[in-house]
Symmetry: C2
Subunit: 355 residues, 2 copies
DNA sequence: TTGAAAGCGCTAACAA
DNA sequence: TTGTTAGCGCTTTCAA
């Protein structure tokens, strides 16, 4: 780091300094020198020089030339909840451990934005793309396909690309069963005392609703259609749905299944408007894990999805020679109330973060 | 999008098709054509052709040539908590609204990793860097300086670069006062009933501790040193600290200040090991905002930092002609218990996310 | 109003 | 074991 400023050193600077050619320098500095049979002494000299002058490769130039970038992308719908933020956290570690550079982007569940973002990533010649939560997976797939970009869907059942999805049906069954069993401890439960809130017209919601209805019918004998209340994926809309229900019925259902932690935030906004003693005896199941939600003043069962396993499988599939549009199911876990699990942060040293 | 495959179209393909030169195509496609006085008809023709063939610029080539990339970086310590994930969310929106491409990376609070990540970003010729939570801001600063990369520190008091920081002192005062007032409702509070847990040897912790002690001394008349319990920033370590305290005293303090949401997660892990009735009457202040924490079964006061304002100020500073290493203070907000605020997600249409 | 040409920093044949 | 050379796709003078 003696070079105190000016412009960044290039392989040409180094070739002059070392009295070798640029291609020799290039080979030494990008690791391909062993197979180019460059003398150890030459390599050593160049490496020392590079170190001394604080050389770092211009990755845009390298990428331009080799049409690869060392970048691996993760496309998220949003950052701001524990499911996706912990997925991003795991992704970072995984990609780094493979010597590549993770790039996380979000597209706000907007199909236009999704395509736009993916095009940008393609323009940077990213090497692989993990798609977690696109509203239009097949549109994104088409772009990737066209650009020859390897990609997998994470927790998203695309029909055209390999997909690793959480077993939403099984998870919903687990969760529904847990809610019912818990509710039965407080006395008999009639079918119209158990609702499902949240979700939208997507695959995950369908599967979860299917699992919910099936278990409910089996255990409670019936499942009136009115007990399914889709609200979309937004805290505000979910809060309104609870408010409407409350106005109509004078209370919340005794027990309910909430389709995601975002919907659960909607419940909180509703609760914030009312004394919580009013709802002291509700029982909630949430399809998602958030450590704080686990300690709310009523029982909250949660389903924790194994995003680390999904990502790992994703890499495995991308590495495999044949990449048929398979669908891999990953099993989620039931988390009982008042359970604070460890997360990806725990793998860091004195991990955690300010904030 | 008629071109069904093969290689991506380049400006040369388009120049042949349009019967113009590559430089004309380039100018038309990068928006500089008005000032190059290119005929409207020519521009239109080329744009149609580009559209038709699904042309997208190779950003690595553009970046290589112009040594800019359109990329704006945000360096986070970690993703997985609401403070940073919501900062990432705001960052995305802000950068996109300026027509640039946000790149979020994390460095796990590891100084080596931080420098490494920043070097990578520099190698991609990113245009600006927001540094939120580096353990070694001045080391990072040196790298940026050397590369001529414009950067600001967010919630981090670097001495060498402009810094926008949350007013930790004032926030801690607000929070401490709120805790004390609330505790006094349940009866008199002695100085040894109010503790501070969490934090480490960093600027933010110092400021918060200073604010805490000052208010405590003013309102309660004293502040024994034993009442400050630094635990580092990790849920696991914080949980152990609470466990140790509990073993020693047979109870938790009546009221305490927790230094971050990560430390608060540590409290949860501790609580998960004990019946919560035991702690039904504790009063907690948390320096950070998490919507779920707001509804825990005991009063939780929180401080919400205004990361959106910090980022916005950051952009303003980067745009200003003179960039002295100023320090800008941003005021945080006190959030009373059972208050679920809106977040950056609410600015999306039917926002929110699966998971 | 447009084109020709040079070159950003790097990689990878192909020669030597 | 190493050097020469020809680009990767784009921007940007400068000349026409």
């Amino acid at each position: 780091m003696t070079d105190t400023g000016k412009k960044k050193a290039t392989i040409y600077d180094l070739s002059v300094l070392s009295g070798t050619s640029a291609s020799t320098v290039s080979a030494v500095l990008n690791g391909s020198w062993r197979k180019r049979r460059i003398k150890d002494a030459t390599a050593q000299l160049i490496q020392d020089l590079a170190e001394h002058h604080g050389y770092t490769a211009n990755l845009q130039a390298r990428g331009l030339r080799s049409s690869r970038s060392g970048l691996v992308g993760l496309l998220l719908p949003v950052y701001d909840n524990r499911y996706f933020s912990s997925m991003a956290q795991s992704f970072e570690a995984l990609v780094r451990s493979r010597g590549q550079c993770p790039v996380v982007v979000s597209a706000c569940r907007d199909p236009r934005e999704e395509r736009q973002v993916v095009e940008t990533l393609i323009s940077y010649s990213i090497d692989e793309l993990f798609i977690a939560g696109a509203t239009d997976p097949d549109g994104v797939h088409a772009l990737c396909e066209k650009a020859g970009l390897k990609h997998v869907n994470i927790d998203l059942p695309g029909t055209r690309a390999p997909s690793i999805i959480s077993d939403n049906y099984e998870g919903a069954r687990l969760l529904t069963q847990a809610i019912i069993e818990r509710a039965l401890q407080d006395g008999p439960l009639t079918p119209d005392e158990l609702y499902l809130f949240g979700g939208r017209d997507d695959h995950a919601s369908h599967e979860r609703i299917r699992g919910f209805r099936e278990v409910k019918r089996t255990l409670l004998g019936a499942d009136p259609d009115a007990c399914i209340q889709p609200t979309g994926y937004s805290p505000a809309m979910t809060a309104r749905a609870f408010e409407a229900f409350y106005e109509g019925h004078g209370k919340l259902p005794r027990a309910f299944f909430v389709n995601s932690s975002i919907n659960l935030e909607g419940l909180l906004r509703f609760l914030g408007q009312h004394p919580h003693e009013t709802f002291a005896d509700i029982i909630v199941g949430c399809y998602d894990y958030d450590p704080f939600a686990s300690f709310l003043p009523f029982p909250v069962f949660m389903i924790q999805q194994d995003s680390e396993a999904m990502l790992a499988k994703g890499f495995a599939i991308l590495e495999a020679p044949r990449r048929a549009p398979v669908t891999v199911l990953v099993q989620p876990t039931l988390v009982p109330p008042r359970t604070a699990l460890t997360g990806p942060l725990d793998q860091l040293s004195d991990a955690g973060g300010n904030g």
